[in-house]
C-alpha cells in the first residue's frame, strides 16, 4: 500500500516536472469568471478566451512554451499554485500584501477602480456608503471589494452580502434583493451591460491591480515573467490586448509608467482614495482577528440548522402520516415528492428556490436556505417516521381501537409518542448531518461557518489554521447533540422495543 502511494506520488511529481521540461506553461484560472477575464470559447468549449488567456499566451510565447489552461475555482487559486497544480495563476487575481507575503507575485498589469452599482431609479439617493446605512450591499467573496465592504460595515453600517460569483450580485440588485453592488469597474461594466435597469456610480471607492501568482519556489520564473510583462507594457502589446477587450483607459499608462520606472508598482494607485492597506499579518493573527466573525457565522449555522430541522421534522411528520394513513392518491403524490427531493442534489434545490423562482417569488436568502434544507431533510425524516410508525406493535393499535380511541387519538396518544422514540436516534444523526450540510447555503449568499472560514482561508492563503478552528467549532456544535441523543434514547427508549 505504502509502496503504491510512493509510486503514485513519484508519478505525479515526475508528471509535473515533465510539464515544465516539455515546454508547457500551465496557467490556472476560473473560466466561470467569464469574459473579459476568461470564458469557454463559444466556438470550441474545450478552449478558453479572454484577456487573461491572451496575456498567458503572450508570456508562454516569451518563455518558449505552449500555454495550457488549468481550471481551478477562483477562491482556491492561491493554495493550488502553492501546491503546484499550475505554473502561474491569472484570473482577475487582485494584488494584496497577504499574497505578496506568501507567493511569488508578478508586477501588476491592470489597474481597476472599485465602484458602486445601483438601480437606475436609486442613482440619485445611493451614491456613497453613507447613503447605504442599514442596506444590503453585495460583492464577490475573497476580493478587495469584500474587505472594503467589511470596513464599510463597521464605519457606515452597511450590510455586506457575499456572493460566490459575480453575476448574481447584479441580477439580485436588479430584482431588489440587494440595494447596491461593490465590485471592480471591469465587473461592474459587465453587470450594467447585462442589466439595463442598473447604473454605475462614478465615485471611486478604492483601486486595485490584477497580478499573476506563482509558487514562492518559482521566483526565478516570476522574474522572467515580470521582464516579459514590462516588455509588453513598453511595446504596446498589453495595450493591444486590453483595447481588444474594451478595457483600456487612462489609468493604465500611469500604472505602466510606475512599473517601468522601477517602483515595484505593486500597490497604491495614483489619485486613489484607497486607504493604506494592512501590512501582511501572520495566519494566527488573522485567524484571531476573524474569530468574532467566525463565532457570528457559527451562530448563524446553529440557528439556521435548528430552524431548518424544525421544518424538516414538521414536514417529515406530515408526509409520514399522509403516507401511512392517507388514501391512494395522497400516498402516490407524497411518494413522488419524497423521491423527487431525495433524487436531486440539495445544491440544485437551493439554486432553484433562490434564483430559479425569482420570477415568481423573491425569497430572502435565509428563508430560501431554511426552506431548502428543511424540505430536503423533511423528505428523509418522513421515511424515518414512516418506518417508526409502522414499527409500533399493531396489537397496541387494536387495543386502542377496542378502548374507543379515534384514529387521530391513537396516533396522538399511542402510536406517535412511541414512533417518536424509535425515530429519535436516526433523527439526531440527521440533525448533525444537516448542521454540516448547512454549509451549502453559502452558495445562495448566506455567510455561515464554512463560508466565513473560506473567506478567512482565502485571505491568509492557507486552509490549515482556519480549517482547524472551523472543525473545532463544528465539533463543539455537533458533539453535544450526539450526547443529548444518547441520553434521550436511554431515558425514553427503555422498554418500547419489547
Amino acid at each position: 500500500m505504502k509502496r503504491g502511494f510512493v509510486v503514485v506520488v513519484c508519478g505525479l511529481f515526475s508528471a509535473s516536472l515533465a510539464a515544465q521540461e516539455s515546454g508547457v506553461l500551465r496557467f490556472g484560472g476560473d473560466a466561470e469568471g467569464g469574459a473579459p477575464f476568461m470564458e469557454a470559447d463559444p466556438n470550441d468549449t474545450s478552449r478558453v478566451v479572454g484577456f487573461e488567456v491572451d496575456i498567458a499566451a503572450l508570456l508562454a510565447a516569451g518563455l518558449g512554451r505552449a500555454p495550457r489552461f488549468v481550471q481551478v475555482g477562483f477562491s482556491n487559486l492561491d493554495p493550488a499554485v502553492e501546491r503546484g497544480d499550475f505554473d502561474i495563476g491569472m484570473s482577475g487575481i487582485e494584488d494584496n500584501p497577504g499574497r505578496r507575503a506568501r507567493l511569488a507575485v508578478t508586477v501588476p498589469y491592470y489597474e481597476f477602480r472599485e465602484i458602486l452599482t445601483v438601480r437606475r431609479a436609486d442613482a440619485a439617493r445611493f451614491r456613497t456608503f453613507a447613503d447605504l446605512r442599514g442596506r444590503r450591499v453585495a460583492t464577490l467573496g475573497a476580493t478587495g471589494a469584500a474587505e472594503i465592504l467589511d470596513r464599510a460595515r463597521v464605519e457606515h453600517g452597511v450590510e455586506p452580502v457575499i456572493y460566490e460569483d459575480d453575476v448574481h450580485p447584479y441580477t439580485d440588485l436588479a430584482v431588489g434583493r440587494v440595494d447596491a453592488v461593490l465590485l471592480d469597474a471591469v465587473l461592474a461594466e459587465r453587470g450594467v451591460r447585462r442589466n439595463a435597469s442598473l447604473a454605475n456610480q462614478p465615485t471611486d471607492l478604492g483601486a486595485g491591480h490584477y497580478v499573476g501568482i506563482l509558487a514562492p519556489r518559482d521566483a526565478a520564473l516570476r522574474d522572467r515573467v515580470d521582464g516579459l510583462l514590462r516588455d509588453a507594457m513598453r511595446d504596446g502589446r498589453l495595450q493591444a490586448i486590453f483595447t481588444r477587450w474594451g478595457m483600456w483607459n487612462a489609468d493604465q499608462p500611469r500604472l505602466y509608467a510606475r512599473v517601468l520606472a522601477g517602483s515595484s508598482g505593486s500597490l497604491g494607485a495614483e489619485g486613489s482614495k484607497d486607504p493604506p492597506l494592512r501590512t501582511p499579518e501572520s495566519a494566527a493573527a488573522a485567524t484571531l482577528r476573524y474569530l468574532p466573525a467566525l463565532f457570528r457565522a457559527a451562530l448563524i449555522t446553529l440557528v439556521l440548522s435548528c430552524v431548518s430541522m424544525l421544518l424538516a421534522v414538521a414536514s417529515g411528520m406530515v408526509i409520514a402520516i399522509g403516507r401511512v394513513y392517507g388514501g391512494g392518491l395522497l400516498r402516490a403524490a407524497l411518494t413522488g415528492w419524497v423521491e423527487l427531493v431525495r433524487g436531486t442534489p440539495l445544491l440544485l434545490q437551493l439554486f432553484v428556490l433562490y434564483f430559479g423562482l425569482e420570477a415568481f417569488v423573491r425569497l430572502p436568502a435565509l428563508v430560501a436556505a431554511v426552506l431548502g434544507l428543511g424540505l430536503n431533510y423533511g423528505a428523509y425524516e418522513s421515511e424515518i417516521y414512516r418506518g417508526a410508525l409502522q414499527a409500533v406493535a399493531p396489537g397496541q393499535l387494536e387495543a386502542a381501537r377496542t378502548l374507543g380511541f379515534t384514529t387521530w387519538q391513537t396516533l396522538r396518544l399511542v402510536r406517535g409518542p412511541q414512533a417518536f422514540k424509535f425515530a429519535l436516534a436516526p433523527m439526531t444523526n440527521d440533525f448533525v448531518a444537516l448542521l454540516k450540510d448547512s454549509s451549502l447555503v453559502s452558495m445562495i449568499t448566506v455567510v455561515e461557518l464554512t463560508k466565513q472560514t473560506q473567506i478567512l482561508a482565502a485571505n491568509i492563503g492557507s486552509w490549515f489554521l482556519p480549517g482547524l478552528v472551523c472543525a473545532a467549532m463544528y465539533l463543539a456544535l455537533s458533539l453535544p447533540l450526539a450526547r443529548l441523543a444518547r441520553r434521550l434514547e436511554r431515558r425514553w427508549g427503555a422498554g418500547i422495543h419489547a
Partner: protein, 230 residues
C-alpha cells in the same frame, strides 16, 4: 334480553372461511367459554365481536348496537360498540410507553372525557382490586405475564363495559395465578357482567364458566354447561 347475540356469523380470510354460521347468545351475569383447538376460530369470533375483524355474513348485536358485513365500524359506531364491549388480548397489548396506571386511565380521560384525577383514582382502585396496586408505576416491560394480564383487565374494566371479551386469559399464568384469575373473573360475572372467554384451559372453564361452546373448524360442534365431567 341477551347481553350479546351472535347470528349466523361468517368470517372469511380471502377464499378461506374461518368461521361458519356461528350463532349464540350470552346473558348478563354469564361467563360463556369458547373452547377448541388452535385454529378452530375462537379468537376470530372474539375479534369480530370487538369490531377488529370484518364479517362476511351474519349480525352481532349488543345493547342496541348492531354489527354486520361491510367495512369495520369507525367514528360514532365504534365508540357506541366499545361503550358496550371491552377486550383483553392474549398478549395484553399494553401501551409500551406508559406506566400501568396510565394505561388504565388513558381511555376514560380521552374517550369518555372524565377528569384526570378521578380517572386516576378509579384506575388505582381497579389495580388494587386486581392485586397489582403495587405495580401501578411500572412500565409494561417491567411486569410479569400475570401482572400484565391484570393491568390489561383493569384497563378494559376502567371503561366499565357490560360485555368483556377475554382471549386466552390464562395462557401466561402459572397454576396458582390461574385459580386467582378464575376467582377475579367470577366476581366480575357475579357483579352482572357478561364475560366471553376464548380458552384452551379446561381447569379454568371448570372453575368458573357457566356455559361452554366447543368449536371445531369454525363451527359450533357442541354446547353444554360447564363443570366437572364436561
Amino acid at each position: 334480553m341477551s347481553a350479546l347475540a351472535v347470528r349466523d356469523l361468517r368470517v372469511a380470510r380471502g377464499e378461506r372461511v374461518v368461521v361458519h354460521q356461528v350463532s349464540f347468545d350470552a346473558q348478563p351475569g354469564e361467563l360463556l367459554a369458547l373452547m377448541g383447538a388452535s385454529g378452530s376460530g375462537k379468537t376470530t369470533i372474539l375479534r369480530a365481536i370487538a369490531g377488529l375483524e370484518p364479517m362476511a355474513a351474519g349480525t352481532i348485536e349488543t345493547g342496541g348496537v348492531r354489527l354486520g358485513p361491510g367495512p369495520l365500524p369507525h367514528g360514532a359506531a365504534l365508540r357506541a360498540l366499545h361503550a358496550r364491549i371491552g377486550m383483553v388480548f392474549q398478549f395484553h397489548n399494553l401501551f409500551a410507553h406508559l406506566t400501568a396506571v396510565h394505561n388504565v386511565w388513558l381511555a376514560p380521560v380521552h374517550v369518555r372525557g372524565e377528569a384526570r384525577a378521578s380517572a386516576e383514582r378509579t384506575a388505582r382502585r381497579l389495580l388494587d382490586e386486581l392485586g397489582v396496586g403495587g405495580r401501578a408505576e411500572a412500565r409494561p416491560h417491567e411486569l410479569s405475564g400475570g401482572e400484565a394480564q391484570r393491568v390489561a383487565i383493569a384497563r378494559a374494566l376502567a371503561m366499565d363495559p357490560p360485555v368483556l371479551l377475554l382471549d386466552e386469559p390464562t395462557a401466561s399464568l402459572d397454576p396458582e395465578r390461574r385459580a386467582e384469575l378464575a376467582r377475579t373473573v367470577r366476581t366480575l360475572v357475579e357483579g352482572g357482567r357478561t364475560v366471553l372467554a376464548a380458552t384452551h384451559d379446561a381447569d379454568f372453564v371448570r372453575g368458573c364458566a357457566d356455559r361452554v361452546l366447543l368449536l371445531e373448524a369454525g363451527r359450533i360442534a357442541r354446547e353444554g354447561s360447564a363443570g366437572p365431567g364436561e
